[in-house]
C-alpha cells in the first residue's frame, strides 16, 4: 500500500456515533456567556490595580526617556546645567532688573531735587507780574548768567531744558 492510498483512507475516518452525540449535547447545553467569571469586588479592585500599575510604569518610562524627573537621581546627567551661554543670559536678565530697580530709586530723587532754573522774562519786563510770580518767572541768571535779560534771549537758551510735571505745577501755583 503506497502513501497515497493511506492518505485517501483518512477521508473515511469519523468519530464514534455515540461519542459524537454526547459531545454535541454537551456543547449545546452550555449557555452563551457562561464562561465569564462572576463579578466580584476583589476582581474589580485587582483590575484597577493592574491598570494603574501599567499606566504608572508607562509614565515613568516616558519621563526617563524624555530627560528624567527634576531633582531625582534617576535623571540623566545634564551638562546643560553649566552651559555658560544660558547662565550668562539668565544673569543678564537679573542685572537688567537690578538696573530697573535702581531707576525706580533715582527717578523720585531726581524729581524732588531738580531746581527750577527757569526762566525768561526779567522783573523789569514783566510789567504787571506779581512779586511772587516774578521770583519764579524772572530769574534768567540761572540760565544765561545775565540778570534782567529779555524774554527772547533767555527763551533761546532754555529751549532744551525740560521740567517735571510737579515743577510746572509749582510754577503755576505761584
Amino acid at each position: 500500500m503506497n502513501i497515497q492510498e493511506i492518505l485517501k483512507q483518512f477521508k473515511n475516518i469519523e468519530p464514534d456515533a455515540s461519542y459524537s452525540a454526547t459531545s454535541k449535547r454537551a456543547i449545546l447545553a452550555v449557555e452563551p456567556g457562561a464562561t465569564r467569571k462572576p463579578w466580584t469586588v476583589r476582581r474589580t479592585i485587582l483590575t484597577i490595580v493592574e491598570t494603574g500599575v501599567a499606566v504608572a510604569l508607562t509614565v515613568f518610562f516616558i519621563f526617563i526617556v524624555l530627560g528624567g524627573l527634576p531633582g531625582s537621581e534617576l535623571a540623566p546627567m545634564k551638562y546643560s546645567a553649566i552651559d555658560p551661554s544660558s547662565l550668562h543670559a539668565e544673569a543678564e536678565a537679573i542685572d537688567m532688573q537690578i538696573e530697573l530697580a535702581q531707576l525706580n530709586y533715582s527717578e523720585p530723587a531726581a524729581e524732588s531735587t531738580a531746581p527750577i532754573t527757569s526762566v525768561s522774562v526779567s522783573s523789569s519786563t514783566a510789567g504787571a507780574t506779581t512779586p511772587a510770580t516774578a521770583s519764579l518767572f524772572a530769574s534768567s541768571t540761572a540760565i544765561n548768567g545775565v540778570p534782567g535779560a529779555g524774554a527772547s534771549s533767555s527763551a533761546t537758551s532754555s529751549a532744551t531744558t525740560t521740567v517735571t510735571l510737579d515743577q510746572a505745577l509749582q510754577a503755576l501755583g505761584q
Partner: protein, 263 residues
C-alpha cells in the same frame, strides 16, 4: 444709445469720486485735529516762559496761557496713570497677589477721576483759580499719587522678578545633581564650596523676595520695599556668579562637558 450709456457710467464714476472726496476731507481734517489736540508731554522752560511773556501782555493772555499749560499738565498726568494701569494689567499674578493688583488698579482709577475733576475746574477758573488748582494737584500728587505710583512700580517690578527666581531655583537643582555626581567620582573642595555658597545665596534671595512680597501686601513704605527687591536681585546675581565658577571648574575637570553643555 451708446453715448448715453457712456455718459451714465461717467456720471457714476464722478459721483463715486466726489463722494469719496467729500467723506475723506473731514476725516483727514479730524485726524489733523486729533494730532494737534494730543499734547506733547515734554514741558520745557519755554512753556513757563510763555506764561511770563503773556503776563507782560494782558491778564486775558496770561489766563489763557495758564489754562493751556494746566490742562496740558493734567492730560499728561492722566497719560502717566494710564501707562501705569497698562503695566499693572500686564502683570501675571497668583491668588495672593491678584487682590493687591485689583486694589492698586482701583486706586489708579480714583487718580484718573481726580484728574478729571481738576480738569473740569480749569475751564471756569480765573488766574487765582488756576493757581489754586495747580497747588491742589501738586499737594495731592505729593501726598497720594506719588506713593501710589511708587507702589505700583514696585509691584510690577517684583512680579516680573518671579520668573527669574523660578529659573534660578531650577538651575540650582540641576547644578546640585551635576555637582553631587562629580563629587561622588572625585571630590573637589572648590566645587563643593561654590555650590554651598550658591545654595545659601539663593535661600537668602528667596527670603528677601518673600519679605518684599509681604512689604507690598502691607503697603509698607516704597523705599523699604524697593530696597528688599534690590537686595533679593543682588543675592540672585551673586548666586549666578557662583554658578559661573562651578561651570568653569566642571569644564576644567571634564573637557568633554564643555562640548556637551550646549545640548
Amino acid at each position: 444709445m451708446n453715448y448715453s450709456k457712456t455718459a451714465f457710467i461717467g456720471a457714476l464714476f464722478a459721483a463715486f469720486f466726489l463722494a469719496v472726496g467729500v467723506l475723506a476731507a473731514p476725516l483727514a481734517q479730524a485726524q489733523t485735529v486729533a494730532q494737534a489736540a494730543t499734547p506733547t508731554c515734554t514741558i520745557t522752560q519755554d512753556d513757563l516762559a510763555a506764561i511770563a511773556a503773556a503776563q507782560a501782555q494782558s491778564l486775558t493772555a496770561e489766563l489763557a496761557a495758564r489754562k493751556a499749560l494746566l490742562t496740558r499738565i493734567i492730560t499728561c498726568a492722566e497719560e502717566n496713570v494710564q501707562a501705569l494701569q497698562t503695566d499693572l494689567a500686564g502683570v501675571q499674578t497668583n491668588a495672593a497677589t491678584a487682590a493687591l493688583q485689583s486694589q492698586l488698579s482701583g486706586k489708579l482709577d480714583d487718580a484718573m477721576n481726580y484728574y478729571g475733576l481738576e480738569f473740569a475746574k480749569v475751564n471756569n477758573a480765573g488766574i487765582a483759580g488756576t493757581e489754586g488748582v495747580a497747588n491742589e494737584i501738586l499737594a495731592w500728587r505729593a501726598g497720594t499719587y506719588d506713593p501710589l505710583a511708587d507702589q505700583v512700580a514696585n509691584f510690577v517690578l517684583w512680579s516680573e522678578n518671579q520668573n527669574l527666581f523660578t529659573t534660578a531655583q531650577n538651575r540650582l537643582g540641576e547644578v546640585q545633581n551635576l555637582v553631587s555626581f562629580m563629587e561622588q567620582a572625585a571630590p573637589n573642595p572648590d566645587l563643593a564650596q561654590d555650590l554651598t555658597s550658591a545654595q545659601s545665596l539663593i535661600t537668602t534671595a528667596v527670603q528677601e523676595n518673600n519679605s518684599a512680597e509681604n512689604a507690598l501686601m502691607q503697603s509698607e513704605p516704597s523705599e523699604a520695599t524697593l530696597s528688599l527687591i534690590t537686595s533679593s536681585l543682588q543675592s540672585l546675581s551673586d548666586a549666578y556668579q557662583k554658578f559661573s565658577n562651578i561651570s568653569t571648574i566642571v569644564q576644567q575637570l571634564l573637557p568633554a562637558a564643555s562640548s556637551a553643555s550646549g545640548q
